[in-house]
Amino acid sequence: MLFFILFLLVHFLISPPDSYQAWHGWMRNSGISVAASVFFAALLLHAWVGIRDVLMDYVHPPALRVSALALLLFSLLAIAAWVMRILLMGPG
């Protein structure tokens, strides 16, 4: 995850995408989109573990905690679906 972020950073510093075509083409590069998919999967998994831990620490009433965790899971799954649509389907 960290390596992907550093890679992105370095890439943007060396050649910032100055046009839509360049950016779009780069993101459609299959290597990049696979890397981006792995990155988002790892990122969302990490967000799940992290926020779950925070909720376990501070939210004690069982009903409230279960609802908070369910809400979190739902949000993360929704984001995952959204990312998949962006990365795999493309704008058409």
Partner: protein
């Protein structure tokens, strides 16, 4: 026998009056930045979506960088990312028994706190 009246038991728990060693500051900042970063995810995904949609939307995203409020938001997220990553690395190292003695842990906690701030300053220098 009379039931004992319930005793009042106050608790001293004022976080402003309890000293936080540097490691505690690093730890709570790690947590806070984690929450900030998690909240950034939907915005980041939205911007990614927009930037890949078409020419106009891409230009729209690029134009966002003209706003100083957006730039400040970016600097704050860069700080959060830098601090969270550095503290994360510190955590992983301590899990494999590197720097988990108190003096080393204190030193690395300072490094993380200042390192995060340094990266943020760098970002601010570039963007603002």
């Amino acid at each position: 026998m009379m039931a004992k009246p319930k005793r009042r038991r106050p608790v001293f728990f004022n976080l402003l009056q309890i000293q936080m060693p540097v490691g505690a500051v690093t730890s709570i900042t790690h947590r806070a930045t984690g929450i900030v970063l998690a909240l950034c995810i939907p915005f980041g995904v939205y911007l990614l979506d927009l930037s890949l949609r078409d020419q106009q939307s891409f230009a729209q995203v690029a134009r966002l960088f003209d706003h100083w409020t957006f730039r400040i938001a970016v600097v704050v997220s860069v700080w959060a990312l830098a601090h969270h990553s550095l503290a994360g690395i510190r955590h992983l190292l301590s899990d494999i028994d590197v720097g988990s003695q108190l003096p080393a842990a204190r030193r690395s906690a300072w490094i993380v706190n200042f390192g995060g701030a340094a990266v943020a300053l760098l970002a601010a220098g570039v963007l603002l």
